[in-house]
């Protein structure tokens, strides 16, 4: 593999960016828990973790490496927190008919594309959740809207609490077992076809079909209690999809196969994320078409064809892997309407570094990620302390 040229920040710019980020994270993470001493202490620990990670990211320029650590920790913290919460509040993980009738189902962002059309036409929410509950419809809708403006498609690499699971499994083995040289890259359009099918089907059936039939993440969150053969079939499907797309294929291919080849929400986010002004662009002056990025892109967003046009696909999740791997520093975060100057072309200086598009994007993404994950991570830390003291992972 060719030697890579990664453009980190100078020590002074890294310290400045990390310090400002530290205070903003502290304000939002610790400040929000000032009435709960335990959560405040756990949030402080997480704050230190995120600050160290942020400094290393800015200083080294290895966006993907340090984002990947954060993203995996975030997803694991989500799962380790979500299941105990269900056990504490409902007493069981599997959804019963009574839970559904009581609208006692937490909503996740994956459901949003299926809810829009029935909501607009019939004025009804076709998912059994409450409108204003803690993990109900409106909080999730507003969170998603905010994330779309701030991160765009970057949600899939910095904000989604499921994406870190395939990221985690894709990092476990040191080398690829299945080569992707003969991979058919047109498969990356499958999520768009699936999105169309589930949106139309959900509207016609007034049923969130993706949640019922296909969502692999039911394996690590909640699922309908199997009471008849139909639900057993659905259970089998989501278990197979989870094991295949989130565990086995990422392990073998070292790529995020669920996010890149299956997730219909990711396809949806590819469209709505265009509202965000950040893009990943390839500098045609620098790129020598070596194809290292094609081989390494975790979400299959760069192909030989797109590279020949010096472009990345709409499916790019802003993970930063291509920037890390490019031997000529030809791929960079950029702002719409701002020419791609390259890290080395601008006049060197403190302000030029701080106001680099990649600095601004990663700063915002880290802040958003830290705040959205902070509560979960802190609570999981407290659960481990509780486990050590009482032998139980549950608070009650």
């Amino acid at each position: 593999m060719p030697r890579t040229l990664i453009c980190g920040h100078s020590r002074s710019a890294s310290i400045f960016l990390t310090t400002v980020l530290f205070f903003m994270m502290a304000f939002l993470l610790v400040g929000g828990n000032r009435n709960n001493a335990g959560m405040m202490q756990a949030s402080l620990v997480y704050l230190v973790f995120m600050t160290v990670l942020a400094y290393l990211l800015f200083r080294s320029g290895r966006v993907h490496r340090y984002r990947s650590i954060f993203f995996s920790v975030y997803a694991i913290a989500f799962v380790l927190n979500f299941i105990p919460i269900l056990l504490e509040t409902r007493g069981h993980i599997a959804l019963t008919g009574r839970d559904i009738a009581n609208l006692d189902t937490p909503l996740c962002h994956l459901t949003i594309p299926m809810l829009i059309l029935p909501g607009l036409v019939y004025g009804v929410l076709i998912f059994p959740t409450k409108l204003f509950a803690n993990m109900g419809f409106y909080p999730m809708l507003f969170l998603w809207l905010g994330a779309t403006v701030v991160l765009g498609k970057g949600w899939c690499s910095w904000g989604c609490f499921y994406g870190g699971l395939d990221e985690f499994f894709s990092k476990l083995l040191p080398k690829r077992i299945v080569s992707s040289r003969k991979f058919n890259y047109s498969l990356r359009w499958f999520p768009f076809a699936l999105l169309l099918v589930i949106v139309v089907w959900s509207f016609l059936a007034l049923d969130p079909v993706y949640c019922g039939w296909l969502c692999p993440f039911k394996a690590v969150t909640e699922f309908v209690q199997p009471t008849n053969w139909l639900i057993w079939v659905q259970t089998g499907i989501f278990v197979v999809l989870f094991l295949g797309l989130v565990v086995v294929l990422p392990l073998l291919m070292k790529r995020r196969t669920q996010c890149g080849l299956f997730c219909p929400f990711g396809a949806f986010q590819s469209f709505v994320g265009l509202a965000n002004p950040y893009r990943v662009r390839i500098d045609k002056e620098k790129c020598n078409q070596c194809g290292a990025c094609v081989d390494q892109c975790p979400t299959f967003a760069i192909t030989r064809e797109t590279l020949a046009k010096n472009k990345v696909s709409i499916t790019c999740a802003r993970c930063g892997r291509c920037m890390e791997i490019c031997p000529r520093d030809a791929i960079q975060f950029s702002l719409l309407g701002v020419p791609l100057r390259g890290h080395d072309a601008r006049k060197p200086g403190f302000l030029s570094e701080v106001f680099r598009p990649d600095s601004l994007f990663t700063f915002g993404a880290l802040l958003f990620g830290a705040v959205i994950s902070g509560g979960m991570a802190a609570q999981v830390l407290l659960r481990f302390v509780h486990l050590a003291r009482t032998g139980s992972f549950l608070f009650r």
Partner: protein, 69 residues
């Protein structure tokens, strides 16, 4: 003409950097809005109601409304 174009280009670049900074400042506002009651205030104006689920057999099914709005 060339000067005007250069000026407009510089203005557009500055505007984009300003938007980038504003997006960062938007993040605390998003998370503050959760505790402020703003979401409830805005959402109550949206004509959307919760579904009525039978829950029989655990299948997620909403009762089809009588007629579109």
């Amino acid at each position: 003409m060339a000067e005007t174009q250069t000026f407009l280009r510089a203005l557009r670049e500055r505007l984009m950097y300003l938007i980038a900074v504003l997006l960062i400042l938007l993040i605390p506002l998003i998370f503050f809005s959760f505790g402020s009651g703003l979401i409830e205030k805005v959402a109550k104006k949206i004509p959307l109601r919760e579904g009525n689920f039978s829950g029989a057999g655990g299948v997620l099914k909403v009762e089809r409304p009588a007629a579109p709005r």
